[in-house]
Symmetry: C2
Subunit: 404 residues, 2 copies
């Protein structure tokens, strides 16, 4: 008789952002007049840049004519896109990454969730706490996390690296040795960044203990400070211990267009096993490539016009970040993030729990944020706001919060 | 220390179509003047229909303007698409399937490969032999298939259901009871179809033994005979035992556009566990939806103009199927398929192996097909040709083969 994967049944509740979506929908239905402003889920609001729109129209036209029609894409992505990524995101920053080490996909979320699959189920993972839920949830589904403790909201076989006010939201090297280390900088949800010299310590540590760092750099376009690395491959020795995930969602507004990529150096190994062929095999067997139209859109991100337009878009959102950061600080909130990341991390007032503050904010200000506790136990009493709203909505949301 | 997933290392060779791709590339490089005709991989050649092109241009324009820009899609797909699928593919055929039982994705390949994940790793799978490699390979990666025997080219824990000349390429109910049964009709690679009364026997069997049928209906648009079911949900009791996969790749030429969907009835259970919430959780955690532009393209498939244009496209390919079938039959080959499917299944002449015939055809006729043995041991000595080439190339390929 067919049996379900019991690991799925261990997952407490539904995916965080699905829960928030449902709560907001219910509130809106009960309060149809409430003008809700969403600064919760990290979804963008600015339209796709003109250079990219133009590239997509051209690609659609190519699909309309037999001579230029494109069927299945190459397994790992079109060369025109992989070449420009290697050049612009890596070689130009002095990173030794070549086009055939880049795997184009439909987004960093899928890749971050699927990457654990090429590792042994008895590998032990380490995650920051709080953390983007996908890392842990995908490992729960694979049976890699042990048992869940409802009281502490932690898994018995996961190594948690607390990121707290005390350590400036920067994780310390773990005391128990992990096999796989998930790091995300600039960080979601805390908005904190890490200096190159700090990241180098993680690379050295991973090489020493034989761990692999799974490095989520989805927010690199928001880095404004010079000594913050855009890629882990800026660090010496990273080719021997790191896999990097990149997204077009936040730097180019592709949350509804869907494009990302993963970098696996050809010489990267887990024990004696090279990982590049394993991920290539996964791509070949379980995936059929990102749409041609979308890969052409990705190429346009790196065009002269595309880069110019996207620089302005990032600046627009970072201005929102400033509005949130300064507005809340001015109102007496304890805030961080927002300098190298589009996320502001704030402490709920009066020792409220994260979810209490979520309900309070939704009910009193009609503003949606994300409860910090949804990202892990050390996120309790914290709250995430995103800079991805419109400027007008962001201003109004902060005005409303200031008036509470 | 990080360890690789050892199940991946059990996989013999690379993904079938990657291997073919490499072989053809090498041959072309060594023989730059050879005018190679590809009737191997099931990739389409006709451009996207005008109604769909127009819908995509409109969607691109929507993404260019703040007021109509779309970010993250709903977890399970846009309602406009799920509603039209429920209506046109199911309700219109008397199948009791509702929009919220439809999960929109980037293609049937991903879904067919990922579906095994929501089942226990000790579930036993049954597959047709020969079979689309993704079903078995994805289960190998999950550790569900036991050990590989190089001599028989079979896995110790997989139940094979031979589809041979003797049984008209229709599988018999297995003698060992499986937990999960992969069925694909119209069939890839043999091109065979199954009557509704025959499929009903499988549904009754699965309900009796508590197995789940994973039904791949990617080629349903090619059905030309009346008593062949387009969906397993045309059978009584299928809601209690079946999951269905559908693709836009072959009926609408979306191999490079990427869209598909999976149907999981809300009351379908594995033991006591409903499967719909598990797949919903997987979608929510490991996937971020198909692009808005692509979902709008999917909607246009069901428009009046779209349906008319695609009917012509399917007829174009089925005329190719006729050209291949009759040409080869006339030349003395033993052929089947091609009536309810875009695949022709032929026996290699002179007792050649499938790969020998592949090399022979590539070298002597510059025609690429797919070796039957790549789909399983019972495919040995057989060969698949697809009807997805252009009419002109198909004619020429058959002429070349006839002259051998």
């Amino acid at each position: 008789m067919a049996k379900a994967n019991e690991n799925y049944l261990k997952l407490p509740g539904s995916y965080l952002f699905s829960t928030i979506g449902k709560k907001v929908k219910e509130y809106q239905e009960a309060n149809p007049d409430a003008k809700i402003i969403r600064l919760g889920i990290g979804d963008v609001t600015q339209p796709i840049a003109p250079a990219i729109i133009s590239a997509m129209h051209s690609a659609v036209d190519e699909m309309a004519v037999k001579e230029t029609f494109k069927g299945y894409a190459p397994d790992l992505g079109y060369e025109f896109l992989r070449n420009v990524i290697a050049e612009e995101d890596y070689k130009s920053r002095g990173c030794d990454i070549s086009a055939d080490e880049i795997f184009v996909s439909d987004g960093a979320k899928s890749d971050c969730a699927n990457i654990q699959e090429i590792f042994s189920t008895d590998n032990k993972i380490a995650v920051c706490d709080p953390v983007y839920p996908v890392y842990v949830d995908s490992n729960v589904m694979a049976g890699r996390t042990g048992t869940y403790d409802k009281n502490t909201e932690t898994w018995s076989d996961v190594i948690y690296m607390p990121c707290t006010e005390e350590n400036g939201f920067a994780p310390q090297l773990p005391s128990v040795t992990p096999d796989l280390i998930y790091l995300c900088f600039p960080n979601n949800p805390t908005g904190s960044a890490i200096k190159k010299s700090e990241l180098q310590k993680w690379v050295d540590y991973a090489n020493k203990v034989g761990a692999i760092i799974l490095y989520d750099a989805a927010y690199e376009a928001y880095i404004s400070e010079d000594d913050v690395p855009h890629s882990i491959f800026e660090c010496d020795g990273a080719r021997g211990c790191a896999i990097e995930f990149r997204s077009f969602s936040k730097n180019a507004g592709f949350t509804g267009v869907r494009l990302g990529f993963t970098v696996i150096p050809k010489d990267l190994k887990a024990g004696d096993t090279p990982l590049h062929p394993l991920w290539a095999r996964r791509h070949g067997t379980k995936y059929n490539g990102a749409p041609y139209i979308v890969q052409k859109a990705g190429e346009a991100v790196y065009s002269r016009q595309g880069k110019k337009q996207l620089k302005e878009q990032v600046a627009y959102y970072m201005n929102n970040a400033k509005v949130i950061y300064e507005g809340l600080k001015d109102a007496g909130y304890s805030v961080s993030g927002g300098v190298n990341a589009p996320y502001i991390w704030l402490k709920a007032p009066n020792n409220m729990t994260s979810w209490d503050f979520f309900d309070f904010l939704l009910d009193k200000a009609h503003v949606v944020g994300t409860p910090g506790s949804g990202f892990g136990p050390s996120g309790e009493h914290f709250f995430r706001l995103t800079a991805f709203g419109t400027y007008e909505n962001t201003l109004e949301a902060i005005e409303r919060i200031r008036k509470l």
